[in-house]
């Protein structure tokens, strides 16, 4: 009888029959057992290994069913003849063999990604952390969301299947169109909407359809780093345009040396990270510029829901400024938004509103890229919007954030006086500040950490990073006491 050199370990968590299977399979693949070679009967192997015959039979059965072994009636069990022995010998694949990984050729996209500096800002986890991009999750009506999930999960089984519509669930597109028309003056037929996995995918879809390596995109400087990374991953040439307290300085666009830009990317409702709101004048200028230069505008209407302080007395009348898209008459604006900030980030639901001629291609690219959004969530969100929960949640949060914002700005003025400049406090869920200190940004962060306060620098969002003493203070997931204490401690930490 051939010596199978099999060792089974009765202490192992793997069942004995599986150990046997693995050992025999390995022996066959490594060429230790050759094709057509007879192997011991189950009875004799069981005896020699001192295991039950059932164990051996189970192991053999699996090898038989997988084509490693074959039974010849009246003769016995053999290694399958169909395994060509030259193959096995030329390529021994015993797991003990050193792995010899094949080299991987990257595409140009892959190569750009590999070379991209891609460190995230270290996540800050200190007693009081002023993180941005973090809504007040504890305020989300989770019980209501759960009720809707439960209801739609049982309602029928249609949601289990693929959606038929590539652009997204039609009633959800209706609800979004309705909402955008009312609240953002977007000129929007539901047929122009394509649902996406958040704005990040919206950016990606537009890049892949419109940008070749070397194409020009004008961006705000400072501006949203995650968008810039997407543009760079597609090989776009970026033209940074400065922003001031009225948003993108449109006249700087006009002064660019004459080159063709494909897109201008703007965050008009709440410029990231400065918080400026693009003025109506600038909006109109930008649209005229876009028409003259035949350049499309990518409007990321980020944080458009939260605007404060214009007329404190009648907050309810303080509607956000209308979108660029709503002012446009040339189909020159691609509009994008998301529910991540007003509902919750892990929802992954955003949308594009695109010029009619672009609709079929974006829908096709979305379908080819990942088919669709999860259907159940689309049904739930439709009901959430249609029943008015979205707008009432926004109203509630606007008032909540407005209080926090006032507390933050007050605390900054109290504890820092003229050692701080506050930007963009009129909108959104963060403010940008500039501290006047003798230290570089990293030292400021370090000193803040020493008093238990987490800070994030605005530096990575600048095209040319530099020590400007600018920080982005997110306040949405803190409470009033944390904000007051945090700023007080920060002032102590930053006193000389």
């Amino acid at each position: 009888m051939i010596d199978l050199a099999i060792t089974l370990d009765s202490q192992s968590s793997l069942p004995l029959h599986q150990q046997l299977y693995e050992e025999l399979r390995r022996a066959i693949l490594s060429g230790r057992l050759l094709p057509r070679q007879k192997i011991p009967s189950t009875r004799s192997l069981a005896q020699s290994l001192q295991v039950s015959r059932t164990t051996v039979t189970q192991g053999y059965d699996r090898l038989l069913s997988e084509g490693y072994l074959e039974t010849i009636v009246g003769s016995g069990t053999y290694v399958c003849a169909q395994l060509p022995d030259d193959l096995l010998h030329s390529a021994p694949i015993d797991p003990a063999t050193t792995i010899n990984p094949l080299p991987i050729h990257l595409s140009d996209y892959g190569e750009r990604l590999r070379q991209m500096p891609f460190s995230l800002q270290p996540s800050i986890d200190l007693p009081i952390s002023f993180r941005y991009g973090q809504p007040a999750l504890q305020q989300f009506p989770i019980a209501l969301w759960r009720k809707l999930l439960s209801r739609y999960c049982l309602n029928n089984t249609a949601w289990l299947d693929y959606a038929i519509d590539w652009q997204g669930y039609p009633p959800l597109r209706d609800a979004i169109a309705n909402y955008l028309t009312r609240s953002r003056a977007v000129q929007c037929d539901p047929q122009q909407i394509i649902l996406t996995n958040g704005t990040q995918q919206a950016l990606d879809l537009i890049m892949r359809l419109m940008i070749n390596p070397g194409d020009g995109i004008a961006i705000e400087d400072p501006g949203y780093l995650s968008a810039r990374r997407v543009f760079l991953s597609y090989g776009a040439e970026l033209c940074p345009i400065p922003v001031d307290e009225s948003g993108l300085v449109v006249e700087k666009l006009a002064q660019l040396p004459d080159r063709s830009l494909r897109l201008v990317y703007v965050t008009p409702s709440h410029q990231f990270p400065t918080g400026s709101i693009l003025s109506l004048t600038r909006r109109l200028e930008l649209l005229v510029w876009a028409e003259q230069h035949r350049c499309l505008i990518l409007e990321d209407d980020y944080d458009s829901e939260y605007r404060y302080g214009v007329r404190e007395a009648s907050l309810k009348e303080n509607r956000p400024i209308p979108s660029l898209q709503g002012l446009d008459r040339n189909h020159s604006v691609i509009y994008m938004g998301t529910f991540s900030k007003v509902l919750f980030p892990s929802l992954r639901m955003g949308y594009l509103v695109v010029p009619p001629s672009l609709v079929p291609l974006v829908a096709q690219a979305k379908w080819l890229g990942d088919r669709q959004l999860p259907t159940l969530e689309q049904h739930v969100l439709t009901e959430f919007i249609a029943a008015g929960h979205l707008e009432s949640h926004i109203r509630k949060m606007r008032s909540h954030y407005d209080q926090l914002r006032q507390i933050l700005v007050h605390a900054l003025k109290t504890h820092f006086g003229d050692r701080v400049r506050v930007f963009g406090e009129k909108a959104g869920i963060h403010v940008m500040v500039q501290f006047h200190t003798p230290w570089c940004d990293a030292e400021v962060i370090e000193r803040a950490a020493q008093v238990g306060v987490g800070l994030m620098s605005a530096q990575p969002h600048y095209y040319y990073p530099d020590d400007r003493g600018e920080f982005i203070l997110g306040y949405a997931d803190l409470d009033a006491a944390q904000i007051t204490t945090g700023i007080k401690r920060l002032a102590q930490g930053l006193s000389q």
Copy 2:
């Protein structure tokens, strides 16, 4: 007083104050009202329009807050001075103005997509439709899924936030690694897994990281159309390789004129659409070929869960054949799978298992492309797998589909005799058939439709579409009686 030429419609569904707002805004933007122009007091406008003063105040307030109007204390209300009148006059944007859409420049990707023939097969909705790719949704344990959703939705609020891990929720990756190791002999550390929105996104991520226009990809012919479309959208040059009853004919790969291929795309567990299972011999040959040619293999382990008929007597022992990835020792296989077919299509949860050197780039591309999968579903799916529901559901469905499959094959043999050839009945949830008829495929579909039976041709999945009389019969969402009746009617419809 200036004539504002405003008409309000009391029958409109739009509130009067909003109508007033819209009319005034339009008048300003079109230049009918000029910057610094004084507008009537709320009292006098209310009088002249015969509406309440509150209505006018509401309209004015919104225009004030949005920067169209300004109040000069003690003087009155004016159109904002900051609107440069030259701008307004050079670009009248009255909605009545004819829209002059800007041309849209497409990227090379966009242009390829635009030129791609992209008709879907018409969806068939006949009394009995043999659709493929459609699992038995009525068998899905929806109440259990709902219970898990409800539980995790309340469990805590951590799931509302972004996941920290770019590759996907770590416990879910652990559960998948465990499942793949046990059931598919995949050599898989959870660190090699990246969660994706189904296999469609997995394909897309690999393309963007590895394929430049002009790069070669070998594909199965016939093969999965949706994959081919993704490859073509990236400009890949496709090399179709024939398949037979043992799957991809590997020796045809070896006979290709010497050119460098970047990838070979295979569906070894259940070749789409023929249903062949790639034999162990071919698997080993393919791995050797890949090593010699330094070419990676993209293994789409589609339908690996369902394999029947090898040893009818002990179905429970009939494990699927091990994956290519599990046989590989050179990190030359990129493995992909999905829960769409075993759970439900609208879930959008798939995964890639990639060689270690590729992990950071795939994770980064996923993060840049759309951040992450919805967190709540990731938690629910983790529990579903960890508690054993996945494997028990698969066992139940395997037996269910096996019965249906036997009924279908029996009905085909009974009613068609030697007028039909059945392929690939050993696995998956469809079979491919070739009917011997005098008609072209479109006529066969038409005749089937006349007897109330929906059929889908295999034609679009061939590289060179032609009338072969081949059809893909999905049976998973039908019951036994529908299958028997459907095939009987079909035989009548196709009799001369």
